[in-house]
């Protein structure tokens, strides 16, 4: 069996004249946490829908969990769509049982799992209540359960953290890490970079329907971050941006991130700064994914 759970080759999706996804290729190795990054409208959701067979690509090939689109391996995937929603009138327990059943879990087992998950989320007393009576936060938890109740090998989450309060964001992160530890694969899309930094092993950056960057997080950082400094200072530090060593910069207000030319010495920057501004912190830094993201997206635009 292949070690890659997702192999997408040159997939294309057009809406009329608009090309939403333009020859995207993706490889997701088994057991990783994979981040699909990109600004809004980059084509992340469309790509994910094609991986899930909710939509068919106009061109290209997709293999998921070793099967092509015609084989029935959807039961081994858990999917959390970007926009959330549940059957409002259904009772929570019935709803979860139903979602497990359409993923091939037998009825009795589905019921058992639903109750144990509700227990775990502190919602055991809500099993017989209709979904619409739950608070928004509780509904989000129910939605997480619905996504994972069939113990999928592959979790695909579209913007999972958007709209979550910090408590639920943590709950979700724990579920993702738990699945990861048990050897399952997690793919999620986001435009929130802190999550990527904390969670991802692999990333793929999409902009305007095209892949602009992909690889392991470490490799990407190495490629982009071997030469950079982050300076926190008091005083007028505008001159720092124009030093000969500086290739590009990013002004974060109280902090300035300077990307240096290859071979330039960070110490020269420190020397230049000393005396003209009061240095509060000076750090040789790899750029954050956020910086890489901004840089690559503005380059490719």
């Amino acid at each position: 069996m292949s070690d890659d759970v997702i192999e997408a080759r040159d997939i294309v999706k057009r809406y009329g004249d608009f090309v939403a996804v333009d020859r995207v290729s993706l490889t997701v190795p088994r057991g990783t946490i994979f981040g699909l990054l990109g600004p809004n409208g980059a084509g992340k959701s469309t790509t994910i829908r094609m991986l899930l067979r909710v939509m068919l690509p106009d061109e290209g090939s997709i293999r998921v969990l070793g099967g092509d689109v015609s084989t029935l391996n959807v039961d081994r995937i858990g999917y959390l769509p970007e926009e959330r929603g549940l059957y409002k009138k259904m009772k929570v327990g019935d709803l979860l049982t139903f979602f497990a059943e359409i993923k091939g879990v037998a009825r009795a087992e589905a019921r058992k799992r639903a109750l144990s998950w509700l227990e775990r989320m502190g919602l055991a007393d809500r099993a017989a209540r209709p979904v619409e009576e739950l608070s928004k936060g509780m509904q989000q938890k129910v939605q997480f359960i619905a996504t994972v109740i069939h113990e999928p090998e592959l979790l695909i989450l579209d913007e999972p953290f958007s709209g979550l309060d910090p408590v639920n964001a943590n709950v979700l992160k724990d579920i993702m890490l738990d699945f990861h530890r048990r050897g399952h694969t997690v793919v999620f899309s986001t435009h929130m970079m802190e999550q990527v930094e904390k969670l991802c092993e692999h990333i793929c950056l999409i902009n305007k329907g095209r892949v602009v960057l992909s690889g392991t997080l470490a490799a990407v950082k190495k490629q982009y971050g071997h030469n950079g400094v982050s300076v926190r200072f008091a005083g007028d530090g505008a001159f720092l941006k124009t030093l000969p060593e500086v290739a590009s910069f990013q002004d974060n207000g109280n902090e300035l991130f300077l990307r240096l030319h290859d071979g330039a010495q960070p110490a020269r920057v420190l020397d230049a700064a000393r005396g003209r501004v009061e240095i509060l912190r000076f750090e040789i830094a790899e750029p954050s994914v956020h910086d890489i993201f901004i840089e690559r997206v503005s380059e490719s635009s």
Partner: protein, 421 residues
């Protein structure tokens, strides 16, 4: 097979709905009321004596009327206590006004004023506080007419009893001969009533379950549950599951109604009340009702589901739903014509056209037992139409279900249809 889970969910969620229970209980009650109430009202008129004043300008007519009103109450007393007032010439107007005033006061229930001119122009007066009791009015009309006519005949030298016997009209008894050759007497008014009730039930059931399925698709679309569903099963499974699940819920409701209907009809048949026995409904009619509901539902619901898939909000969907409802209204509008002539060529043709067939054929079955080949042909044509409507719906469904935003126009629909090869 994943389709079973969709069927199960659709069925249970629909059957457990409060509105389902309410309508399931309410319709038989309304049906019963429709048939039983008129009978009840007719049977339970208050059993009391009426005080009658007859003001007679002709002379002698009043006492003849009193003699003719021999009706008795259950207690054996006379139903009408008649006071006859002879009021020849000038006195008539004063007496008449006095009696009307008595009616007004409540001292007298009915005042009848018979002027001398009645013999030539045939006009008399009947005054009462409550005009609703039509039966009593009929009775008086009949009695007063007889007395006046007898007077006229006597004036020409004829014997009233003899003339009445000779001019007795012929009583025609209407009955129909069924396919199996048995001749049955029928109360035709009751039969028309049955046709209306059955056709209306079929219409309402098809329409309301069609809209239910349309709404359920919109709900899945707007809550985005649809994405999770489509990542778990094929659009085909989803569509069929909904059709079967909602269809079964509809059948459940109809079965309950049919059982209640059969029970009521059985009771009516054995009832000692003559008016009720004509409401006996052959059990086969219920079977046809179910069969044509199933076929009509499949045909229309596929279209209603397409509407749900193509629209993002209920408001958008309503216009399209209205469009689908149009062909359902045609049978309702032509029903009166069909009832008068259920065997005509036009009726046969209309009952073959799949969009009209369920209601039209059901009406014809109740009215005249059409030849079996016609029923079979209408069903066969319906099946063909269902095949096309589901195929069409499936293609629109697959594309439309993931498209959000403004209501699509016809050109876009055609485009979607072509997209889904």
């Amino acid at each position: 097979m994943k389709v079973q889970h969709i069927i199960r969910r659709e069925y249970l969620e629909n059957v457990r709905r409060k509105s389902f229970m309410v309508s399931t209980l309410l319709v038989p009650v309304i049906m019963a009321a429709f048939f039983v109430l008129p009978v009840v009202f007719a049977l339970f008129v208050p059993d009391r004596q009426y005080r009658v004043a007859v003001v007679d300008q002709v002379g002698g007519v009043g006492s003849e009327i009193a003699a003719a009103l021999v009706d008795t109450l259950k207690s054996g007393e006379r139903k009408y206590a008649v006071e006859s007032i002879d009021a020849p010439g000038e006195r008539f107007d004063a007496e008449r006004e006095a009696r009307i005033a008595a009616v007004q006061r409540g001292d007298v229930d009915i005042a009848v004023a018979i002027p001398a001119t009645v013999l030539s122009d045939g006009k008399a007066e009947y005054v009462t506080r409550e005009t609703r009791n039509f039966n009593i009015f009929e009775r008086f009309t009949y009695v007063v007419s007889d007395v006046v006519v007898a007077r006229r005949l006597a004036a020409e030298g004829f014997d009233f009893t003899r003339v009445k016997a000779l001019t007795e009209p012929v009583k025609m008894e209407m009955s129909r001969v069924s396919a199996t050759g048995e001749v049955e007497e029928k109360n035709f008014l009751a039969e028309y009533g049955l046709v209306f009730v059955f056709v209306m039930i079929l219409y309402m059931a098809t329409l309301s379950w069609g809209i239910t399925i349309s709404r359920s698709v919109i709900e899945e679309k707007s809550s985005r549950v649809i994405e999770v569903l489509l990542s778990s099963l094929t659009p085909r499974d989803l569509m069929l599951g909904k059709l079967v699940g909602v269809g079964l819920a509809g059948m459940t409701q109809l079965s309950i109604w049919a059982v209640v209907g059969l029970a009521m009809s059985g009771y009516a048949a054995t009832s000692s009340i003559a008016m009720l026995t004509s409401f006996e409904i052959p059990p086969a009619v219920f079977a046809y009702l179910m069969a044509y509901f199933l076929l009509g539902f499949a045909l229309y619901s596929a279209l209603f589901m397409t509407v749900g898939a193509a629209c993002s909000t209920e408001q958008d969907a309503q216009q399209f739903q209205g469009l689908i409802t149009l062909p359902m209204i045609v049978p309702l509008m032509t029903l009166m014509l069909l009832i008068q002539n259920p065997g005509s060529g036009l009726a046969v043709v209309l009952s073959m056209i799949p969009l009209f067939a369920p209601m039209m054929m059901l009406a014809r079955i109740i009215l005249l037992e059409p030849p079996l080949w016609q029923i079979a042909l209408s069903m066969a044509l319906l099946l063909v139409a269902i095949y096309f409507s589901i195929t069409f719906a499936a293609r629109i469904f697959r594309v439309g279900i993931l498209i959000y935003g403004k209501r699509p126009n016809l050109r876009e629909l055609i485009h979607w249809y072509k997209l889904a090869k």
